[in-house]
Amino acid sequence: MAAAPAASAAGRETGVGQPAVAGRSVVAFCCRECAYAAADASANARTSLPPTVRLVLMPCTGRVSPLHLLSALAEGADGVMVAGCLEGQCHYREGNFNAIDRVAFVQRLLKSVGVAPERCRMFTMSAGEPPKFVAAVKEMDRVIGGLPPLERSAVPAVARGAA
């Protein structure tokens, strides 16, 4: 079963404001101290972004667990994104280091079951770098746009939360 996306997405460059491919959705887990702050700053500057990415506020990317990433993909997201502080700048000192390892682990899980690992990506930025947040969102939009929508089998919805 060819897991790799049929058409390489390299060809399509989504310019500013160009309508993105409809129907794709990305859940972005953003840390309150850096990524979400950068998002607010870029929004206040009225930078327009593709609507595929929806932000979920987290205290720190250290809070994001593989369960959240896989569940988001299983329940409708075509891609998941974790955005945290620059390495060494984490407000809680090492939360982003945990996130980096967990995202890498989820990527390998996806790869082992034939799902494109790029559907799960980690980005780091400082609260003072809105352009980096914008670039991250556009990158996710471009990559996920290039991939077909994520097919899901009809198995019942994931068990909500822990037993």
Binding site: P66, R102, S112, V113, G114
Partner: protein, 141 residues
């Protein structure tokens, strides 16, 4: 060698569970990987280093995990989006502590049963030693 009551209780929760038995001087350790939650207590308690947290993770442990458990939830999510069955083990980065397979080395195992007693998820079964199986001389070898 008939299953103990405890063994039978564990097996009942595992529809297709596979039995891996080892020959040791003490009791025979049987690990049910699909029930493992990855807490690592067997590795820390094991006196002979037979059980150790490995650097890889067998994705099947997610797919076969019991429905209500945390790994079960991960398994369900994975099962919905996977294109094919997992091919081989997955390398685990340093800071991911819990999603690791416990490497169990039968040779080193003393069969003392500490891991079985300590396992919070009752995923390890220590069967009493097979009295007739190994003649005394061989036992001491």
């Amino acid at each position: 060698m008939p299953l103990t009551n405890r063994g039978r209780a564990i097996l009942s929760r595992v529809p297709g569970g596979t039995l891996q038995s080892t020959v040791g001087v003490g009791c025979e350790i049987v690990r049910h990987e699909e029930l493992c939650v990855g807490c690592g207590k067997c590795a820390t308690n094991c006196p002979s280093g037979a059980s150790e947290r490995s650097e890889t993770f067998d994705v099947y442990q997610l797919l076969d995990a019991p429905a209500g458990s945390r790994r079960g939830a991960l398994g369900d999510a994975l099962r919905r989006i996977m294109k094919h069955a997992p091919d081989g083990l997955v390398e685990v980065p340093a800071r991911v502590t819990v999603l690791r397979t416990i490497a169990y080395d039968g040779e080193k195992c003393l069969g003392c049963g500490t891991c079985a007693r300590g396992c919070p998820a009752d995923a390890i079964e220590a069967r009493p030693p097979k009295a007739d199986a190994a003649p005394a001389a061989e036992m001491r070898a």
